[in-house]
């Protein structure tokens, strides 16, 4: 870690433009009916945008490993919560248990 890590303005502006392009892209894609792929497209773009913000604006690329690990742990736990809960809802109706006496 050097004492002065001053990011060039150019880098910030580049990330900013990328985020705006991502926003435009997500709106355009949503207008087309792609079925289930709409969700994949919208979430992929949102995740890329979030990573750009985390890496450049939130300076994760210059932060200590401890801070980066904390950030990753936060999102890891979020994914655990979503996946564990959705495993139940996505599979609930698929399981047909035999009913005794019928």
């Amino acid at each position: 870690m050097s004492e002065h890590v001053v990011t060039p303005v150019k880098t910030y502006v580049f990330v900013f433009v990328a985020l705006l392009v991502g926003t435009l892209l997500t709106v355009l894609v949503s207008e087309v009916d792609l079925g289930w792929a709409n969700n994949i497209a919208a979430m992929s773009i949102a995740i890329v945008k979030a990573l750009l913000v985390l890496y450049f604006f939130m300076e994760l690329r210059h932060s200590t490993r401890m801070s980066a690990l904390t950030a990753i742990a936060g999102f890891f736990w979020l994914v655990l919560m979503l996946v564990m809960i959705m495993m139940d809802y996505w599979s609930r109706h698929a399981i047909v248990l035999p009913v005794p006496g019928k």
Partner: protein, 251 residues
């Protein structure tokens, strides 16, 4: 940008990086250690925020999985251009926030003040646009429950579309109400975070004006930046999930 006479073109302090004029708080050995502690503490707070918003996102995902047709229909009544505008406004405010911190890093105090004011102006713009959107929802009676003696009311104008959705989900009006409950709580909590952020920015502006922050000490600016960018990330996910879910229905 680095036009301050105190800084060379690489953004380095002309006093030299080692002749520190600042002293860390007594529990820290160095300024760097102090900054790392602040950053770690802020990230721990943000982890609680991830789980806080995460609970709402989970609720959204569960109900959307249960009632996809009603959610798409309810989503299609939201104003996509205003939502997209607000997304752009928030992204702009994240840029100005990053530039405010950068200005402090290169000892450009006036720049830091200008960018803090811009960030606050953009944050306020977001809230004003949001207020107009909320107003529309009140006028349309899309607010869940009984507000001002007018019950929640969700009717699709297009009769063909209405019958198509009723076929998929006979109880779609009640399920649309769940969508709007989630819409109001998620955007409402997000807006609350913005209002708190604006308050913190006002305090930072006050201290920046007094010259409290420079290239050696700008932790409060950087920590507020982390908070501000995090709130931006929440919106980056809220926008497609709430506004764009049913966009193809009218496309």
């Amino acid at each position: 940008m680095a036009s301050s006479p105190l800084v060379d073109r690489h953004g380095h302090d002309v006093h030299g990086g080692h002749a520190s004029r600042r002293h860390p708080a007594h529990q820290f050995d160095t300024m760097e250690q102090q900054k790392e502690s602040s950053t770690l503490g802020m990230w721990l707070f943000l982890v609680t925020e991830i789980m806080f918003f995460g609970g709402l996102f989970t609720a959204y995902l569960v109900y959307r999985t249960l009632y996809p047709a009603a959610f798409a229909a309810a989503s299609s009544t939201l104003n996509v251009p205003l939502g997209a505008l607000n997304t752009a406004v928030l992204i702009c405010s994240s840029l100005t926030m990053a530039l405010a911190i950068r200005s402090a890093q290169v000892n450009w105090r006036k720049g830091a003040m200008i960018f803090l004011v811009l960030t606050m102006a953009l944050g306020s713009t977001f809230l004003v646009v949001k207020a107009f959107e909320y107003h529309d929802k009140f006028v349309e009676h899309h607010v869940p429950g009984h507000i001002l003696n007018t019950p929640f009311h969700f009717v699709l104008e297009d009769a063909r579309e209405a019958s198509a959705i009723a076929k998929l989900d006979p109880d779609y009006q009640r399920h649309a109400e769940i969508f709007f409950s989630l819409y109001f709580i998620m955007t409402g909590v997000h807006a609350t975070h913005m209002i708190i952020g604006l308050g913190i920015l006002a305090v930072l502006l006050f201290y920046t004006r007094r010259g409290k922050y420079d290239s050696e000490y700008y932790n409060p600016l950087e920590m507020t930046g982390l908070y501000w960018h995090f709130v931006d990330i929440v919106w980056i996910f809220l926008f497609p999930l709430l506004y764009l879910l049913g966009a193809h229905l009218h496309g």
